[in-house]
């Protein structure tokens, strides 16, 4: 991973955690709110990333799941330039839900 991408990763993990905290915080899972939460989280994360001004295209995905004991498994696979492109995944949880956010950065320059 290039030095540029490492910067993004560190900023990413920190900003993503902050975004999730600000949007969901200590709230309980709510069927009526979850749609808004996921949309807010991805938008805020993307805004923070774009502000970095680096020559990258970004994809941000977010999954919020209620804690009921169900099993959940996720996998990502990428076909890209391993020297320039990279990703970062943040797992967050509170008492009633899990939140998994993935950021993918693809170099344009």
């Amino acid at each position: 991973m290039s030095a540029k991408l490492c910067d993004i990763c560190d900023v990413c993990t920190f900003s993503v955690n902050l975004c999730i905290e600000n949007v969901v915080g200590g709230g309980d899972y709510s069927q009526s709110q979850v749609n808004k939460w996921t949309a807010n989280i991805v938008e805020r994360c993307l805004t923070q990333l774009v502000k970095q001004g680096k020559p990258y295209k970004y994809i941000v995905t977010c999954a919020v799941m209620q804690k009921t004991g169900a099993g959940l498994h996720t996998a990502n696979s990428c076909y890209w330039d391993t020297a320039m492109d990279g990703s970062c995944t943040v797992r967050w949880e509170n008492r009633t839900m899990y939140c998994v956010v993935s950021v993918f950065a693809v170099a344009t320059a």
Binding site: V64, A70, H73, N76, Y79
Partner: protein, 112 residues
């Protein structure tokens, strides 16, 4: 006026969607959710899809995500947002289910 028939070089959602559906059917099919197999399933689905997509021979980078969830009444919501070139890049998401499993696969294609 001269018309040129060009091969579709863009991100074609129907082709990608077909690849995803075939891969999920072939991997999970009618099987019930099994904790010790689900790891293999997600890996197999993304790898199969990726290899079919690269065979399309288009000048694209691809990102695939696969989520498998056991059906037990839990609520789940997913969202994604992209900062890219709207004229050349595209995405496709497929939601599949059987009696005990939900599977959501998303493919993002970015033009080189």
């Amino acid at each position: 006026m001269d018309y040129q028939i060009e091969e579709e070089a863009g991100f074609v959602v129907e082709d990608v969607s077909k690849i995803i559906k075939e891969s999920v059917e072939a991997t999970i099919g009618g099987n019930a959710y099994q904790h010790n197999r689900v790891n293999q399933w997600t890996t197999s689905i993304v790898e199969q899809c990726l290899s079919q997509l690269s065979k399309l021979g288009k000048p694209y980078k691809y990102i695939l995500t696969c989520v498998i969830m056991q059906k037990n009444g839990a609520g789940m919501q997913t969202a994604s947002t992209c900062f890219w070139d709207n004229s050349t890049d595209g995405s496709c998401a497929v939601r599949w289910e059987n009696k005990s499993v939900y599977c959501i696969v998303s493919v993002f294609g970015l033009a080189i």
